[in-house]
Symmetry: C2
Subunit: 150 residues, 2 copies
DNA sequence: GAACTAGCGTTAGTGTGACTAACGATTGGA
DNA sequence: TCCAATCGTTAGTCACACTAACGCTAGTTC
């Protein structure tokens, strides 16, 4: 099921492809597990952000999670339908909605924290603790490069 | 534009998220450049595979590139429309189509080889040569884990 | 040689994620 | 008071991963 033996040499040599494939496999495992908890990545991103920053507007959530504000609408709908967040108009600025974490949302967050830690451990299983640190370091360097000039 | 300063601590700590983000940024750059050459990732995968393995069926292409055979149909259509491959029935087994690289396809492949090498270099710019090797090594370990039990 | 099974290419459709465009409502500043 | 900007929302595009089903062809078994 992987091309490490059957694929073209050129494809195996492409680091960008390697990166994509590793991410894809990790994402798949993450999404599988999240689905079993009736959640997806964005749900976690929103819940975690609300937990750390308190009630914020959708625009601020969009900034902090990097979810497009157009997509955020559906995410908040889903979370609200599960009573994990509340959406209420901001009295101070009636353009805004204030999104608040509910006790149920906080419980879900803790559940997902655990779940994601487990999946991460599974995905990184082939690496030692030192290698995991190294990987995080290298990936951070890549990600931050783009953070600079934007 | 990245959450390394504005995002929740929990999100920054998630290695699976880090991996996804790095892959996403790299993919975006790759796709941008490929688009300028009127191509996409799958085009390259197919062209490179044909170059290394000669004329093969779509089923074999699907195995070697990990493109689903249902999606491969459109990819071959696109490549054929650009005269980069030819699709002809296999006389030895009339269920099969034999896909062949054309001279034009080979030219495009060389062009994309260069293009992708440049993008890879740009994406990995923050890393030294040794670090790039290390990254490739770690990612390979992750990818091969899944290759095992499938 | 008829029937069955399996492989092949194709069509259609699902779900997720990234991303753009545009609109109505509201706000703050010139 | 008018203007520009911001906010939430709707709608839609594109790429990728993945599933289901169908018609055709090939090879095998009875």
């Amino acid at each position: 099921m992987d091309d490490s033996t059957t694929g073209a040499q050129r494809l195996r040599d492409l680091r960008t492809r390697l990166l994509s494939q590793a991410a894809m496999q990790a994402d798949r495992r993450v999404n599988e597990e999240l689905a079993r908890a009736d959640a997806r990545k964005w749900h976690y991103a929103v819940l975690a952000t609300l937990d750390e920053f308190g009630a914020v507007s959708q625009a601020e959530l969009s900034d902090r999670t990097r979810i497009y504000r157009s997509d955020l609408v559906a995410v908040i709908n889903e979370l609200a339908a599960r009573d994990q967040v509340e959406r209420a108009p901001d009295p101070a600025d009636r353009r805004r909605n204030l999104i608040t974490l509910t006790p149920q949302g906080r419980r879900q967050l803790h559940k997902l924290d655990k779940l994601l830690a487990d999946v991460e451990d599974e995905v990184l299983a082939p690496l030692t603790a030192a290698e995991r640190e190294q990987l995080a370091r290298l990936l951070t360097a890549l990600v931050e490069q783009h953070g600079q000039h934007m």
